[in-house]
Structures are given as structure tokens and as C-alpha cells.
Subunit: 227 residues, 2 copies
DNA sequence: TTACGATCCGGACCGAGGTCCGTTTAATTT
DNA sequence: AAATTAAACGGACCTCGGTCCGGATCGTAA
């Protein structure tokens, strides 16, 4: 374990326009409490009502129906409140996905093998892909709608956690390679937008995509031919 | 040659909300004329003025400064005209990139080897990646700004042309593999958003990214170990 | 040259994301 | 319990992408 991913520091030295202000990001597997700097009572209540309202809107009208004003109205709250709590629309949508994401993280960080620790790295990699594909397949629409602007895609915490995990496994499996780049490659294969394209637009069965993952992992982690 | 990519039909049976109405998409290497159904004189004039105005705005204020109203105003044209001609903001931005994209396509479809026909497939693949990386590095900002909503990312003509090319080379190099999925993987590595992340946010030198491409191509096209 | 129909133009209009700031309210201190 | 302060609230307001339709313009055919 002991991921040197270093979520909080490093990477973009920029001023980071607006912290989500939300306990939404999981930086360590199981946060020892401190899930957000403890909101004020009314703020916490409104946050819950907003999430509930948003979830209802998603269920009723799909992700496209989740307009900030509609959510605010449904939660009987001012529009400003929504933005203060979640930063922007993407933040709200990601908060909606947060619970499932945490469960997923827990599974691959500390769950039972082969997904969790205990299995050989390549096997964990294979299991990780399957789990990630399943997770992408569930609420695909929401994941697409929650996609931030392209220059933030790689900075959102869930992506970085997953990336860090793949990176660690890759370093064990192919210590001599440029694992950071290979990890990005593997991550790309699991991108919700690609899954959407393959399954919905190309009508590709999930089984084939999963087989493709196994094949890709095999190729990426294979011992090199002497050439 | 003879790409069975089949740009016009297939894929999304949906009503395709709004054709770009523009001669912007290159479906064959060198369109034998017919670059758009020959616009009316005033329409053609306005189109040119709009593109010129947009380019000037990009140069002066960056891609973010390209607002539809600003472009319309700078071109001395009504806002509606911009949308009729280019469909939406993404369409306008892509039209701005179209010229360079055509040159790139010409280079790998029918230019001199190793990028063009004549070299062995793996070598062409390597050259293709280098060229694509260079192309992504130039006007990265514009490419990011032109990125459409995630559910269209894989449907825009330039992407499909590139994909078809990689697919063809891959089929020659590794006939037994699921080349469609491998092609998507390779394409992902060249995604402008990833390049932006690696170069600008992770400060990774282009040389390393290019080495990573060679390595990736090698792994993907390597003869499999009997295992 | 004139008449006609298809195409294009322009800008008023709308919806939604995001900002701002005066007001309210919860926690804390005295 | 009253005062204080930091945080949260709400909704008016702004910008910008996108739509619409009455009117102007172009190409063509007579």
C-alpha cells in the first residue's frame, strides 16, 4: 500500500479556481471522519436536500433534466446555495456519483482479492478493469454529464485515485517501463466516453470490451521480445 | 487504400441533430471539388469573413475569447448567420482547425513514406503518432476548446478518418487481434486532452511522450509470447 | 429585364450556468 | 442571555450559446 500518489499537493501549481468546498473527494481510502470541515447545521441540511432533489430529477428526467435552477427549486433553496455548495454543475453531478465511487475505491484499495490486495498485480489489473467497466456501464449517462471541461478531466480526484492504483500495479508488473504513460493508456480504455461510444453507438457487447481489456493488459505487461 | 470506414452512413442511426451545413468534413482525401454544395455568393463571403474574424479573435484573446457574438460583430454579421453556417460553437472552432487537419490527412493518406503509403505498417504507425503529437501540440488550446460534448467525441469526421487509418495499419500489423479496440487505445494516447495534461499540467517533455508512443506501438503490435 | 422561389440575413428572444451582494442565521464568546 | 462574527442564504443580474421568423437578397427562368 502506501500509495505515493500524493493527491493534495503536486500537479497543478495553479491557484485551483474553486475548491469544491465539499467533502466529496476521497483522498485516503477511509477518511477518518473529517469529511468536509464540518458544515454548519443549515448548510448540511440543505446539502442533503439538494442531493436528494438532484437524484430525483435524474430519475425522472435523466441527467439532462438536472438544471441548477430546477434542483434549487425542488430543494426549496436559492440558486446561489447550489453553487456555493457544489461549485458548478459538474460538481453537483460528481457529488451524486460520489457514493458509488467510494464503494468502488474501497473495493480495489482494501477489498478482497483479486480486486483488492493479495493477488498478483496483473490479475488485480484485470479485475480492476472489469470492475471499472461495470461501474462505467451503470449510470453511464450521469458519468458523461458529469464530465468536466477537458482541461480538468485528469485532475478530478476519482480519476487520480484510479490512476494511482493502476500506476502502482503497473510498476509491480513491468518495473522497467514508463509506467506513468502506460497507466494513462490503460485508464483511457476505461473512459466512460469511450465505453459509451462502443456500447451505445457501435453496439459492441460488453463481453468483447472486457476481452479487449484482458488482451490490452496482456500486451502492455508482456515481457518484451528480445527483438 | 480503399478504407471501408464509411463515414456518411452507419454509426448513429439517430436523426443527427444538425448537419454542420459546411464543407468542413473531409470524407475522402482530396475532395474532387464539391466542398459544400456551393454556397450562395453572400453566404460564401460571410463564411470567409467569419472565419477570418474568428482567427483574429483567437490570436488576440485566445480560444476563450471566441464568443459567437464577438465573432459575428467582428465580421459585421448577424449572430444567426454564424450559427446557420457552423451549427454551433464547436463547429466554428473545428472549421478553424480544418485547414491544418486536411493537410495532415493528406500527409498520412497519400504523402511520402514513412507517414504515407509505402512503408511497413508498424513504421507508418510510429510516424503517424509523431505527426499527430506534433499536430496536437500546435494550437492545443484551440483543439481543447473545439472538443465537442463527450457523446460526439468519437463521431467527428477528423477523428473517424484518423481512427480508420490506424485501424487499417493495425490490421496489417496484427491481423489476429481485435484491431478496433486496439485502434481506440492507440487513438486515446494521441488525444489532445491527454497531451495537454501531460505537457502542461505534468510538465512532461514531448520527447518522453513520443518515446512512450513508440513503446506503446511496440507492445500492441508485438508477437505474443506463447505463455 | 422582370418575376419568382429558394436561400440567407439579422437581431430579438429564450434558457441555463455562473456571479454578486445585501440580508439572515447559526455558532461562539462574554 | 446578549453580543459578535463568520458563514450561509437567496434571488436579482449578467453572459453566452442557441432558436426563430419576418424581411432582404441572390440565382434563375421566362
Amino acid at each position: 500500500m502506501l500509495y505515493a500518489v500524493d493527491m493534495s499537493t503536486a500537479l497543478p501549481p495553479g491557484p485551483q479556481p474553486e475548491e469544491p468546498l465539499d467533502g466529496t473527494q476521497v483522498l485516503v481510502p477511509f477518511g477518518a471522519g473529517a469529511d468536509g470541515p464540518c458544515l454548519r447545521a443549515d448548510a448540511a441540511r440543505n446539502r442533503a436536500r439538494l442531493l436528494e432533489a438532484a437524484a430525483r430529477l435524474v430519475a425522472e428526467h435523466g441527467a439532462a433534466g438536472v438544471t441548477m435552477e430546477a434542483v434549487a427549486a425542488a430543494a426549496k433553496v436559492g440558486k446561489g446555495t447550489v453553487f456555493r455548495r457544489f461549485g458548478d454543475r459538474t460538481g453537483l453531478l460528481m457529488a451524486l456519483l460520489d457514493h458509488e465511487e467510494k464503494k468502488f475505491q474501497a473495493a480495489f484499495l482494501s477489498g478482497p482479492p483479486p480486486l483488492g490486495p493479495g493477488a498478483p498485480p496483473v490479475e488485480r489489473l484485470r479485475a480492476f478493469g472489469c470492475a471499472a467497466l461495470r461501474r462505467a456501464a451503470d449510470d453511464l449517462d450521469l458519468q458523461l454529464a458529469a464530465e468536466p471541461y477537458p482541461d480538468r478531466r485528469f485532475l478530478i480526484p476519482p480519476r487520480r485515485v484510479r490512476y494511482g492504483h493502476v500506476l502502482m500495479l503497473l510498476r509491480q508488473a513491468v518495473p522497467d517501463a514508463d509506467c506513468e504513460l502506460l497507466a494513462q493508456t490503460l485508464m483511457s480504455y476505461l473512459d466512460p466516453a469511450l465505453i459509451h461510444h462502443l456500447t451505445r453507438q457501435r453496439k459492441m457487447p460488453m463481453q468483447r470490451i472486457q476481452d479487449g481489456w484482458y488482451d490490452l493488459v496482456a500486451r502492455v505487461t508482456a515481457a518484451r521480445q528480445p527483438a
